[in-house]
């Protein structure tokens, strides 16, 4: 509504003009103009209405009386039940990474302060999110195992060249926690671990690790696939605990080491369900 002071029209009687109410339509706007005399003078008052066309039934429902707990609310919005919230943003994008970034506090932490360093590629993300996890993960682990046994002077990662991944960052085991199964001959602590690992190691030597599995692969598929190389003791397919979706890797425990070896030679690089499988020993076999 706008008010404009009108002092130019003095010709005709003000009473005539007061009664006149001009109504004009402009698109979906209705403009009503009339004049009003107050103590301060004559005013021209313009009211602009926006016309919205709604079904008759909706208009009728607008007139309904309030009932129930709302019967004492009176006309209009009751501020105790209806509030305007803070603005929220909806970012529409085809790039889901930006959405994730916005949301994940851990990710933010990782990218801003460089507090996070990947175990595999030394990038500033969590190891579990490493894009090279599958390709580098195995070799890095292998090296760590080697390092814990080999003298520290040849730990510059040169041996890993054969795996086709290139030079890898390696770390000495000094000061770091080393699981008992990997504790080799490098210290007094080694003896402790060996006691525990005797029975287990024999088992695990016949275990193979399968990565780059399709998410659709089930345990039964794996049994079928690996079963042709020999009897299988156990199949472990890693799944997300909540979604039950496969994480894309599995461990197959064979009864004999020979069967496991033949599975590795035959199935490594095998195209299975649009992906190329990577099959390797589950753990580096300890030469003792």
């Amino acid at each position: 509504m706008t008010m404009t002071y009108d002092s130019t029209e003095n010709g005709s009687s003000w009473a005539d003009r007061m009664e006149k109410e001009e109504v004009t339509f402009d698109g979906n706007k209705k403009i009503v103009t009339h004049h009003e005399l107050t103590e301060d003078g004559m005013f021209k008052i313009t009211k602009i209405y926006e016309i919205k066309r709604i079904p008759k039934s909706v208009a009728l429902r607008r007139e309904w009386g309030k009932f129930g707990d709302a019967s004492s609310d009176g006309k209009g919005v009751n501020p105790s039940t209806t509030q305007v919230a803070e603005d929220v943003d909806l970012t529409l994008t085809t790039n889901t990474e930006t959405l994730e970034q916005d949301d994940d506090p851990l990710k933010k932490l990782g990218s801003q302060h460089k507090m996070v360093s990947c175990r595999y590629c030394k990038g500033d993300h969590w190891s579990s999110k490493c894009p090279y996890k599958d390709t580098l993960g195995a070799t890095t682990m292998l090296e760590e195992a080697n390092n814990s046994q080999a003298p520290p002077d040849n730990s510059n990662g040169a041996q890993s060249g054969g795996s086709g991944v290139g030079n890898l960052p390696t770390r000495s085991s000094g000061g770091k926690y080393v699981p008992p199964s990997l504790r080799g001959s490098d210290g007094a602590g080694g003896k402790k671990g060996e006691l525990m690992s005797h029975s287990r190691n024999d088992d695990e030597q016949a275990a193979v690790r399968v990565t780059n599995l399709s998410e659709d692969a089930r345990e039964s598929d794996l049994r079928e696939l690996f079963g042709r190389f020999g009897p299988i003791q156990r199949v472990f397919l890693a799944k997300d605990r909540k979604t039950q979706q496969s994480k894309g890797f599995a461990f197959i425990h064979f009864s004999s080491k020979e069967d496991a070896q033949s599975a590795i030679t035959n199935l490594n690089g095998f195209g299975y369900d649009h992906l190329i499988l990577k099959v390797e020993w589950a753990k580096p076999s300890n030469p003792r």
């Binding site: 429902r61 129930g68 709302a70 209009g76 209806t82 803070e86 929220v88 085809t94 991944v165």
Partner: protein
Amino acid sequence: MTPPRLSNPLSTPPIINFHVLTMRPLMLHGHERAITQIRYNYDGDLLFSVAKDHKPTVWYSDNGERLGTYNGHNGAVWCIDVNLDSTLVLTGAADDTAKLWDCEKGVAIQTWNTSSAIRSCGFSHLGNLLMFSTEDRKDVDCEIFVYDTRSNEGAVSRIKVEGERVSSGLWGPFDEFIITGHADGKVRHYDYRNNKCIKQQHMHRGTVTDLQLSQDKTMIITSSKDCNAMLYDVDELSLIKTFRTDRPVNSAAISPIKDHVVLGGGQEAMEVTTTTTKSGKFEAKFFHLIHAEEIGRVKGHFGPINSLKFHPNGKSYSSGGEDGYVRVHNFDPSYFEFEIEF
């Protein structure tokens, strides 16, 4: 040392289309406990909400004004529906009753007593028939009841449900059958004339929490505790799309005007106190209907979203959450311009 980049010759730089739109939602705070379901009427001017407090509430959807409450239930109200011409309202509650209300006056017209809680209810599209389903208990079977609103006689049909209980249900197109979602993830068609299941699909691995039809009633979207939402052909129950998320999905809705789907959910209410708001994943997620990829998300609720609905004109959507609030979001005009380029 960074590893060599594993370049993929097939990947082309994606065209990134970026729209930020700001919405100022209305917060409707008429309920004291968690919202269980919300629903618009056919014209979209009324918004109905039910919660675990005992008072179904109706609001004007455009300004959030509370029109009234339907007082009379003595338990958590699980479901609500309104008929086509907005004269009758049907609610089902945990006090083992379903009630039919006069929409305008807020008084109960009819009450049906059953032997267990009612988890889903719905009017047929014509509005003459209504259905509601009961929970199974130790010595009580899960059943679907169909009544005629024009007569006070007994049930038109009473279907005994085999297997897991019905967790959500609605009428299929042309009122030919009733579509139900079950606690074990099954989706079924029930023929209410012959009291039997005529079609079944078992794709979900968790409770089907919500079922919603598309505007033209050719597709149905289900949401489930198994973190997925699925889009089916309504007649064949053949799977068309799967929308994967990382949280239990409590509700899914299809936009009537855009190829968008909105999913709401989040961590279970009982686990909420153990985490922060952010990691609870309580945002509403927008997915593209065809690409089944996430395109946006909206924050706001302090608990999981229990029910989501698009306004029938597609220009706004509402969500009801475990925090007891209903939030009405009106889309900014730029929402309608957003298109995915190929």
